[in-house]
């Protein structure tokens, strides 16, 4: 596997981690009703979006470099 392909795998894993963090924080918010956890949850959710956008940008930018 090339570095490019591994990077995609890595970004995918990061997306899953951030989605998990978002869910975890949201559950914590439901239990504790502390806004701090809600903010965490939203931040993690937005980083999911950010990472997906980055992944697409990365694939487009490196379209001509190395194979997957």
């Amino acid at each position: 596997m090339s570095l490019k392909a591994f990077h995609i795998v890595f970004v995918a894993a990061s997306v899953i981690l951030m989605a998990f963090l978002s869910g975890w924080s949201f559950l914590a918010y439901q239990e504790t009703h502390s806004t701090e956890y809600l903010v965490w949850s939203l931040c993690a959710a937005s980083s999911v979006v950010g990472l997906v956008i980055y992944g697409r940008f990365f694939l487009r930018k490196l379209r001509n470099i190395s194979f997957l």
């Binding site: 490019k4 890595f10 963090l21 502390s34 965490w40 980055y54 990365f58 470099i65």
Partner: protein, 283 residues
Amino acid sequence: MEIPYTYKARPDTGLYNAKVGIWLFLASEIMLFGALFSAYILLRVSAPVGFWPDVALAWPRGLLNIPIGTFNTAVLITSSVTVVLAWAALKMNNFARFRVYMVITVLCAFAFLGIKSFEYNDKFSHYVIRLQDGKALTGHIEVDGKHPRFWNFSDQWSVAKLAEQKVAKIKVEMDPERDVHGHVKAHGSHDHEVREVAVSDIVFMGSYTPATHPFFAVYFLITALHGLHVLGGALVLGYFAFPGAKMWKSNPEQFINRIEVGGLFWHFVDLVWIFLFPVVYLL
């Protein structure tokens, strides 16, 4: 005869030697960290209930600083992005940009290690104290007006040492109360309650170190081993950014391969953290 395929790909496998080598090495690393994660699971599942004095649970939860851990995760993800961009810059024949990205990667690595050592320091000076009445306290302690710190191992306190030094009372900066899931019960008030504890009341006292609970043992072992990998990777990438970059002139193809191999290792190290962070911090 010379050794073939040192940097040119072998036609039928499509790989150069070093790439085969690094993936085999990573496979064994997966087994190493896999064994440690399995050990974590087995220890946690088989832990006796009521063992950890803080809560009525077998396994301590919520003891690690999640915001700091999340920040460190972001640092590592950033470093992975920059290392792959450094490699892409070389592929596009832009050496200056390669060096900038590589320097950022190495800086991220050292930032990660710095933050990690701050966390370690905090844990080494954090105590759990079990009292005569069966209740337990956790928090940083104050002995004779001084806050023990990690950097000096003789600063570790125990009941025996307190008795030996004839300390009658210590102060404990209590941690906020947590529910059984490890969530802080009442948020908002950040100032810690300080409690005075008579040494004669203490049954057991131990800092957040491997000897106190298997959780700390496994936490310190995995994170320390991961930290060593980060350090090693940072040194190698730093070498490629400066002294090793001579090869860019003599054999650019092999140099790009080296960066790719280094990047693969770096991605693996970061991927370990992606698994490590939820397992030890969140769950």
